[in-house]
């Protein structure tokens, strides 16, 4: 067996933009028209674009490797090429071992079949033999937690149940190489935890895992190494923390700008003592520098900032007004600067900073930046959950059992 489980060498993928002829009714007139005018038939070249350019990376056996990047960076295309659904336009791709992809876990389901029938159907589609499915059937049902609904047609399932069944089947394929794409967004919290556990146990079992997600927290938890894609090119391949840092700093440069607002944020910077920063340690102090510029005279405003987590849940919220500062007024062309100092007592994860200029008395907001910045908080202390209470174990003793303490 060779050293690599997955290998891509100078892979390119070209797509055509815009409408292509997908009926003979459109194609034939277009072709004859061009022939009469004596034009080349291959005129579509101008509308082509490269979804992937010169992608090279390798994943060793048993390694877990992450791919991150903004929407449209080429992650899904890369996965489709790895799972052999699409062919690269140029380049070489090698997969050693049975590959299974948790890409669309319910793709093989048929609405009119029962859960039981779909387990057999989808299991076969994913490459399991009938005997394998027979032996794992009870495990799959138990994992999905759908025992009593297993003989119900899946069209009666809720979307959560549907996805859970799909994931349960896919999670029991036992591949040598597993590709995971954004499937953990299904199901409730408990099920998501179970999925993460399952993926971890698969990794511990020696399976090579390729993990693609927008959830940077899961990527850091699962992958040691990662690749950052940017507009179809490799922007970085390094250990996961370094890649995430690069991704977040690149994302900070992409702030949307609105030209029709009477006031707008002319500067938003998140920094530590040294300067602009996007990764912090839990408990560290961060400063948010804001600069507001008025296009026309503007009064009675406050600056509001808040943090949301990956699920868009607001975990923290404050404003100049709440901190006791009077409403601000600006003449046309004037600017206002403020700095918030924040103790990041957050446990671990990726958080988005949202900023807004707000008039409390009319309850109207202006130039909301969502997100104005994204930060990643890592924690060296072993804490879980959303906040960091900085635990210390101040007492720990074992008391031998005494007969007197057994009260009845």
């Amino acid at each position: 067996m060779s050293e690599f489980a997955l290998l891509m060498e100078h892979v390119y993928k070209k797509f055509r933009k815009g409408e292509t002829y997908n009926s003979l009714r459109d194609l034939l007139p277009a072709m004859t028209g061009k022939m009469i005018r004596g034009e080349e038939l291959n005129q579509s070249d101008k509308r082509e674009f490269w979804a992937l350019q010169d992608i090279s990376f390798e994943v060793k056996h048993g390694e877990s490797f992450g791919i991150i990047g903004a929407n449209g960076a080429g992650k899904s295309t890369a996965l489709k090429i790895l799972s052999r659904i699409m062919m690269p336009t140029k380049g070489r791709m090698v997969v050693n071992g049975r590959l299974s992809a948790l890409i669309e876990v319910t793709a093989g389901f048929h609405q009119d079949l029962t859960g039981r029938e779909n387990i057999f159907l989808h299991g076969t589609i994913l490459g399991m033999t009938k005997r394998e499915i027979d032996s794992k059937f009870d495990q799959i049902v138990a994992f999905s937690g759908l025992g009593e609904f297993i003989d119900t047609p899946v069209k009666r399932y809720s979307s959560g149940m549907y996805a859970r069944l799909g994931f349960s089947i896919a999670a029991h394929v036992d591949p040598e190489v597993l590709i995971v794409d954004e499937v953990l967004s299904v199901g409730d919290y408990v099920f998501q935890q179970r999925c993460m556990e399952r993926i971890r146990s698969v990794i511990d079992g020696g399976t090579t895992v390729l993990f693609v997600s927008h959830n940077l927290k899961s990527v850091t938890e699962i992958c040691k190494r990662a690749m950052l894609l940017d507009h179809g090119r490799v922007a970085a391949i390094d250990n996961t923390d370094a890649v995430i840092r690069k991704y977040l700093s690149a994302g900070a440069a992409l702030k949307t700008r609105k030209d029709n607002e009477p006031v707008y944020f002319s500067k938003v910077v998140v920094r530590d003592r040294a300067g602009e920063q996007s990764t912090f340690e839990s408990g560290q102090t961060a400063w948010v520098d804001l600069e507001v510029t008025a296009r026309e005279a503007f009064d009675k405003m406050a600056v509001v900032i808040w943090f949301t987590d990956q699920a868009q849940y607001v975990i923290f919220h404050t404003s100049t007004e709440r901190l006791g500062f009077p409403p601000i007024s600006l003449p046309a062309g004037g600017t206002y600067r403020c700095t918030f100092e924040l103790s990041l007592n957050i446990a671990h994860g990726t958080f988005h900073l949202v900023t807004e200029i707000y008039r409390y008395h009319t309850q109207k907001g202006f130039d909301r930046r969502e997100p104005a910045a994204t930060i990643f908080v890592g924690s060296t202390t072993a804490v879980g959950g959303a906040v960091n209470c900085f635990p210390r174990l101040v007492q720990s003793e074992t008391v031998a059992a005494t007969t007197q303490s057994c009260e009845v």
Partner: protein, 261 residues
């Protein structure tokens, strides 16, 4: 091509599973259940009887039970060909998410479509056997031709099915063209009539690869003869070429399915 066949063999369980799904879903959805499989053949047989009755009136020859048996024997395979091509034609586009999301040899879709229609054909055949028993058509050693002829027919349907399924993935209106050809194909195929009724010029219709198959079935079941040799060889060769060409065409286009569907 050897590798592709090997791979198809490895995925044979998937082929069974998809076939099973196609059959099961069809019978689950329709209230009529098994009647579904015999409805179209019954309609074709009845229209054939009407046509033959008209022909009998014009020619002055009485309509005998052999003629009706012949129409019935040819109608059911024709119904199979029509429904399997029609079903195969949409088999890729109706499995959109599987084509774009999961890797496996995609020819299982048109092949499973043909196999699911073969199941309908077998159900209808049971009804046909009862009909033939009632009509006292009798039996002979020539019945051994039946499996051979049916095999040629299945190969032909599979070859055409693979071709039209891939073509209709790229050009959606291929479906309508196929639909027109299937609807009017019955007039160019000796289902309701016999080749000899059209005299000398009727021979040209034997270029239709389905004609010698249907005529051969009618010969071995109703007339107790061997199928005509030249026609048989022609159909066999045509079907094999269609199968290989369909498969090669399909496999050639398969890598670009996901981005063009």
């Amino acid at each position: 091509m050897k590798n592709e066949l090997k791979q198809l063999y490895r995925y044979r369980e998937l082929l069974y599973a998809i076939t099973y799904r196609d059959i099961k879903v069809r019978y689950k959805q329709s209230v009529m259940g098994f009647l579904w499989a015999v409805l179209m053949p019954i309609m074709i047989v009845l229209s054939g009887v009407v046509v033959r009755y008209g022909y009998a009136l014009v020619s002055g020859k009485p309509l005998n039970s052999q003629d009706i048996a012949s129409v019935a024997v040819k109608s059911i395979p024709w119904a199979f060909l029509v429904s399997s091509i029609r079903f195969a034609c949409s088999s890729l586009t109706s499995n959109y998410s599987l084509v774009t999301k999961i890797y496996f040899p995609k020819e299982v879709f048109p092949i499973a479509a043909v196999l699911a229609c073969l199941f309908d054909f077998l159900v209808a055949s049971v009804a046909l056997v009862f009909l033939l028993l009632v009509m006292r058509i009798g039996w002979s050693i020539y019945l051994v031709w039946i499996p051979v002829l049916l095999l040629i027919m299945v190969l032909l349907a599979t070859g055409i099915g693979m071709f039209v399924s891939a073509a209709s993935l790229f050009f959606r209106d291929v479906r309508y063209i196929v639909e027109v050809l299937l609807t009017f194909g019955i007039f160019f195929t000796p289902v309701f009539y016999e080749i000899r009724m059209l005299g000398n010029r009727g021979k040209w219709l034997l270029l239709n690869p389905m004609a010698p198959i249907l005529d051969g079935l009618s010969a071995s079941i109703v007339r107790h003869q061997s199928p005509a040799l030249y026609g048989f060889v022609y159909s066999l060769a045509f079907s094999l070429v269609a199968l290989v060409a369909g498969f090669v065409f399909f496999k050639h286009l398969e890598p670009s399915f996901a981005e063009n569907i």
